[in-house]
């Protein structure tokens, strides 16, 4: 694995490794008659990679949406710790949650399609930059210096994720795999304390998956960013995660180290043994 010396600090967390970072407690989320989350509790600690797995419709994406403030749970709390403060994410607007260090990617890729790769990454710096409408329109002094400074940071992220050759391309014209990578780049620009990745490898070929797994490990191990990811590929999950939470019909049916979860009879039943058996073999 290559070591990247970066001037841009990628990790936005002020916690020490192992500290409690995210505390989801008894979260209930309903859509009309559908209960997407039926009292979910789980935690992440600073510096770990936690995977959320579960069959389709189990509520994985819903949980991520609650954490990033897009959905408001009817009950429960989601506490997030950073900079010696504790925040209840169920009461904060998404843009404020972004500002305190929660970044994410989306299951269906939500890039800014008519921007270049570079501009997508630059827009990830939004909460760290200061230029407003007036100073931007004038493009004098500070505004210009800020652009140049962050442009250099963007190049560091581009190097890290090996997307040099496409930096000036419109993201709409890129392959699915590359778009996923750009989405990771944009999320990294936010300097996340907690990085939420919703199926970062879905729809990729084996080689692309391997690259993505390497980048995720790189970001976690070398830069210390806590990662919470949803993934269907059990091989990848068992390989890279420190802890696995299993959701089924909105309930947590397993939580532990990958090898523990793999042996959990309830989990095996939910999955009918198939995928887990595959990943073991």
């Amino acid at each position: 694995m290559s070591t990247h010396v970066m001037e841009y600090q990628l990790n936005g967390s002020a916690l020490n490794p192992g500290d409690l970072q995210l505390e989801v407690e008894n979260v209930v989320l309903r859509f009309g008659g559908v209960t997407a989350l039926a009292g979910v509790s789980c935690q992440t600690r600073q510096g770990e990679i936690m995977a959320i797995i579960g069959p389709n419709g189990a509520g994985k994406t819903s949980l991520l949406n609650c954490i990033s403030g897009l959905y408001r749970p009817q009950r429960g709390s989601i506490r997030f710790y950073n900079d010696g403060q504790s925040y209840d994410l169920t009461r904060l607007a998404p843009y404020k949650i972004a500002a305190i260090g929660v970044a994410r990617s989306f299951q269906n890729i939500e890039l800014f399609k008519h921007m270049t790769v570079l501009d997508n990454i630059m827009s990830g710096f939004h909460v760290h930059m200061k230029t407003g409408v007036l100073s931007g329109a004038l493009y004098w002094g500070k505004a210009q210096q800020e652009e140049i400074k962050y442009r250099a940071y963007a190049e560091e992220i581009i190097d890290l994720l090996e997307i040099e050759s496409i930096r000036k391309q419109m993201v709409g014209s890129l392959s699915y795999g590359l778009q996923k990578r750009v989405e990771l780049a944009r999320a990294l620009a936010m300097r996340p304390a907690l990085l939420l990745l919703d199926e970062p490898m879905a729809g990729m070929n084996a080689e692309e998956k391997e690259d993505m797994a390497r980048f995720i490990l790189d970001v976690n191990e070398e830069h210390g960013v806590t990662i919470l990811l949803i993934e269907h590929d059990m091989g990848v999950v068992m390989d890279i995660s420190d802890r696995v939470v299993v959701l089924n019909f909105g309930e947590v049916i397993g939580d532990g180290r990958p090898d523990e979860v793999r042996e959990n009879p309830e989990v095996i039943e939910a999955y009918l043994g198939e995928e887990l058996a595959l990943s073991k073999g």
Partner: protein
């Protein structure tokens, strides 16, 4: 042969103009703008001033609709706010133009920002209807608030004050310099805006508002900011119209004007500053051209007089439709295609 453009430093890479050809073209445009008024007669000066004002308004509307994705049918009314504010300050308080014009723009920014508030909840067609309401309400206020606006009667902007106490009579030639200066400043401001943080936030909202919010963009605040910024520029155009035409009446600011401006940015290119300029030029020159052709035809064939206005309307409409069918991304895109062709010329394809 150029195989592409490479840059050694980020600052150079971030510069707006990269190739010598681009620099030469900019220089030619500047030289043209500087010598044009000395060569042109009053007719062409009037056209140029009309284009300049249209450029200012079109850039303003494009910031809101093309770049931020918030459709607006209120441009006519926002022009009216700028025009009436400037005219009333000049008439009632004898204020010089260098105050009335910025004041008109600021007032329009305020009103525009206010009417931008529904954009928090409304999108697409629903927002279009809300801005249509702005158009109707503002014009209603203008025509019914007789004591202040003079109601349906025209306002005559008689004074030509520039600096305090100093009466300068502004003719087309002198106005050319004011209008062009404002237009150049507005274009530069817009270009700068979209290579910095706030401009990216606007585009982010247009492309994917949920992702924008999750990236830390306060979407509501930025939408209102887009309305205010856009309206500021439209207000500038309105205030300039008041002083340039010396007569302000609500009939110049109807929904048709709103639609004309929308047509400018659609034909020029949504989300493109240069497109706003092309669109403003095209939509100002086309009717003038059709009028000229119509007049010469009318004098040649007597009975044509009566049908020519209809033919003009039809041709105007057809040209717009043809554009939308063959180059939906507007003149800006056509121009890019031409440039791309010549950049690698003679090795293109």
């Amino acid at each position: 042969m150029q195989s592409g453009i490479f840059h050694s430093s980020y600052q150079k890479d971030m510069a707006l103009r990269h190739t010598p050809a681009q620099k030469v073209r900019l220089l030619l445009i500047i030289v043209f703008l500087l010598i044009f008024p000395f060569l042109a007669d009053n007719y062409y000066l009037t056209l140029a001033n009309q284009i300049g004002i249209a450029v200012i308004g079109a850039v303003g509307l494009n910031i809101l609709t093309g770049f931020t994705g918030q459709i607006s049918l209120g441009t006519g009314a926002f022009l009216a706010v700028g025009a009436y504010t400037a005219a009333l300050l000049a008439i009632r308080f004898n204020m010089p133009m260098w105050i009335t014009i910025p004041a008109g723009a600021l007032m329009t920014a305020l009103v525009g920002g206010l009417f931008g508030i529904p954009s928090l909840r409304l999108k697409g067609l629903y927002l279009a209807i809300a801005t249509l309401a702005a158009q109707v309400i503002i014009i209603w206020v203008v025509t019914h608030w007789d004591t202040v606006t003079g109601g349906v009667d025209a306002l005559f902007v008689k004074n030509y004050l520039w600096f305090d106490g100093q009466q300068v009579r502004f003719n087309e030639f002198k106005f050319y310099w004011i209008i062009m200066a404002v237009a150049v400043l507005v274009v530069m401001a817009a270009v700068n805006l979209f290579r910095t943080r706030p401009g990216r936030a606007f585009i982010a909202i247009r492309d994917q508002d949920i992702a924008a919010e999750v990236m830390g963009v306060n979407v509501f605040r930025y939408k209102v900011a887009a309305f205010a910024t856009s309206s500021f520029m439209i207000g500038l155009a309105g205030a300039l119209i008041a002083h340039w035409r010396q007569i302000v009446t609500w009939e110049r600011f109807t929904i048709e004007v709103s639609i004309l401006y929308l047509a400018m940015i659609i034909i020029g290119g949504l989300g493109s500053i240069s497109g706003s300029i092309y669109g403003a030029i095209f939509m100002t020159l086309l009717p003038a051209f059709l009028l000229n052709v119509g007049q010469s035809l009318g004098s040649a064939i007597p009975f044509m007089d009566r049908i020519i206005p209809f033919i003009q309307q039809a041709v105007f409409g057809i040209v717009i439709i043809v554009f939308l069918i063959f180059e939906p991304e507007g003149i800006a895109k056509m121009w890019r295609n031409i440039k791309d062709y010549f950049r690698l010329w003679p090795f293109s394809y």
